[in-house]
């Protein structure tokens, strides 16, 4: 479902031209569990951002569900992103003034789903991440692990087929981290394609498929 062909991404930093992604060719099938590893600055995050349609590649072709997405405009990209891709961040990125339930609701608000339907789906999502009793808590009243579970519920609320996670356990202790991984792997078992960036070799080995990046090139796949 994800097809990357000769993808390049370059940045201009001052005088220097940085080749963050160097001729990437990658094909990921529905339901795969892929870990992306590599040293800092190897282009892991850039790759994830390109796949998430947040960052346009400088050149190359990206086909998502048989649709060429490299030529879409900003608003079309926003729609594809909303419907197909869930994103979990290392720093959670919940909005501090909203409760857990309201944070989970945001993608549905952007999609224009009526309030009544939203309420039901938020309840279901909270149940799925085992946080029913925390619906009205704000992020600063939740533990790190709980916050990340809210973030996962938010990422999955539009029922995307692809879930991208950028070091989802990077800011959690090992127990909370373990719970998060379990949650993500559960989703993967329900046929959600899971792509996860990690520094942790042990975590990386749990994935069926491992991609190693060095200097913007895929070394092992």
């Amino acid at each position: 479902m994800i097809e990357l062909e000769n993808i390049n991404r370059t940045f201009q930093v001052g005088e220097q031209r940085i080749h963050a992604l160097n001729n990437i060719n990658l094909s990921i099938k529905k339901g795969e569990y892929v870990s992306i590893m590599g040293p800092s600055g190897s282009g892991k995050s850039t790759l994830l951002n390109v796949i998430a349609l947040l960052d346009p590649p400088s050149s190359g072709k990206y086909t998502l569900n048989n649709r060429l997405v490299t030529q879409l405009n900003d608003d079309q990209l926003a729609q594809v992103r909303r419907e197909n891709i869930g994103f979990v961040f290392q720093f959670f990125h919940l909005i501090a003034r909203y409760s857990a339930a309201e944070n989970i609701e945001i993608p549905m608000i952007l999609a224009g789903i009526p309030a009544k339907q939203r309420k039901q789906r938020v309840e279901d999502a909270l149940t799925a991440v085992n946080l029913q009793s925390r619906a009205s808590h704000r992020p600063d009243q939740l533990s790190g692990g709980q916050v990340q579970r809210v973030a996962i519920a938010r990422a999955m609320i539009m029922r995307p087929q692809i879930l991208l996670a950028d070091e989802p356990t990077g800011n959690l202790d090992s127990q909370a981290g373990g719970e998060i991984i379990e949650l993500l792997e559960n989703l993967n078992q329900q046929q959600v394609t899971l792509l996860m960036i990690t520094h942790d070799e042990a975590l990386g080995r749990r994935a069926q498929r491992r991609i190693r990046l060095i200097d913007g090139q895929v070394i092992q796949s």
Partner: protein, 401 residues
């Protein structure tokens, strides 16, 4: 994204900044208050003056001696005329069919005294027609008798101020008072008029015109007040008056005619201009608060960069982000405008309470104009920050702390 969701999101963002919100609403409301109060004052002054004039009668014609226009030659600039307006001129005007009443006027200052009490007062010489032309009301007695204008009767009608100064609580009717060295019998006391435009009838003594001419030893008239029968007839009367005077003044068109409605119109025009000027000066403060709105929105966008990045990552379009921030700006401004209108209304009520005679009136259009202008300012000044937010790169925005 539905309208009520946009509103809710914008509102929740506003709520997190109470101090900033208070300041911006304060600034906006001061602007709106000053615009509404000043517009109301200007508009009320206009209505007041126009209604005062109209109370004098709308088909009044004033005949002045001399012609107020330059002749293109040497000074004097105001075409002075060697021919005065006389009582005979005034009488002659009755030849016009469009005239209902004619009141010749002579005016002068003279000491009025009774038993050692003396007061300098304005003496008006006129005829019984003055009462009709100026809509004067009597408190007691009667007005000047209807006799020939050239009869110098020794009677007078006095205003309230004179009555109180010279007679206090005593009966004034039938008493004799002295003007200069002549004696006049009081036959009437005017009802208090309050301040009427230009002239204070309370502080006056009205005597027959011939008596006034004798008092001041002057044959010329100060002016002639003419009331036309109808409003339509007024313009015909103007032409006829001009013709009659020209005939009597050896073919010289040497009087100036002022119609009441032209005076009203002039005042109306001037006061509308004043109102608009004052309102536009006050609206500078609206522009200032618009810039404040922009400032607040810049800060809001900068502080919420990560949030904007997140919204984009979750699938928000440019349009949605733009509307989110514009709605926030609009809400701030409208809140300010409503506060301002309330403050303005309160100020006007206070003014009305302290000056009950002056009718304070806030035109409805001013309320809508104030709301529209504040909304417009918000959108104009909110658009730049909102555009900046909408066009942010999601990756860089997300990584901002």
């Amino acid at each position: 994204m539905m309208a009520q969701d946009v509103m809710y999101q914008a509102f929740s963002a506003i709520k997190t900044q109470p101090v900033r919100v208070f300041l911006i609403i304060l600034a906006m409301s001061i602007g709106i208050t000053s615009v509404t109060v000043l517009t109301a004052l200007g508009e009320s002054a206009r209505m007041y003056i126009v209604s005062e004039f109209e109370a004098l009668g709308t088909h009044l014609i004033i005949v002045l001696p001399g012609r107020t226009e330059t002749t293109g030659g040497q000074p004097p600039l105001f075409g002075a005329t060697p021919r005065d307006l006389t009582l005979a001129d005034a009488e002659a005007l009755y030849r016009s069919h469009h005239i209902a009443a004619i009141a010749p006027l002579t005016i002068g200052m003279a000491p009025v005294s009774i038993r050692g009490l003396e007061r300098e007062a304005t003496i008006i010489g006129s005829t019984s027609a003055l009462r009709q032309v100026r809509h004067l009301n009597l408190a007691k007695g009667r007005f000047l008798p209807e006799t020939d204008a050239d009869k110098a009767l020794s009677v007078c009608v006095i205003g309230q101020t004179i009555k109180e100064a010279l007679f206090a609580q005593q009966q004034a009717l039938g008493k004799w008072l002295r003007i200069n060295d002549r004696r006049f019998r009081v036959i009437g006391v005017l009802a208090s008029e309050g301040q009427s435009i230009g002239v204070d009838f309370d502080d006056m003594v009205i005597v027959p015109v011939a008596s006034a001419q004798a008092l001041f030893n002057r044959q010329s008239l100060f002016r002639i007040l003419v009331e036309a029968k109808t409003k339509q007839g007024m313009y015909k009367a103007v032409d006829e008056i001009r013709g009659i005077i020209k005939l009597r003044h050896e073919g010289e068109d040497d009087v100036t005619l002022i119609t009441q409605d032209s005076v009203v119109k002039t005042f109306d025009d001037i006061l509308i201009a004043v109102t608009l000027t004052v309102a536009s000066i006050a609206s500078i403060s609206l522009a200032v608060s618009g810039i404040l709105v922009m400032n607040v929105m810049w800060v809001s966008v900068t502080q919420r960069t990560a949030e904007i990045g997140l919204l984009k990552a979750l699938g928000a379009t440019r349009q949605q982000i733009l509307w989110l921030f514009l709605t926030e700006a609009a809400m701030l401004s409208v809140a300010g405008a409503i506060t301002g209108l309330i403050l303005g209304k309160a100020t006007l009520y206070a003014l009305q309470a302290s000056y009950p005679d002056f009718p304070v009136y806030l035109p409805v259009w001013a309320i809508f104009a104030a709301l529209a202008v504040s909304l417009f300012t918000a959108l104009i000044f909110g658009v730049l920050p909102a555009k900046q937010a909408a066009s942010m790169n999601p990756v860089t925005a997300l990584n901002k702390k």
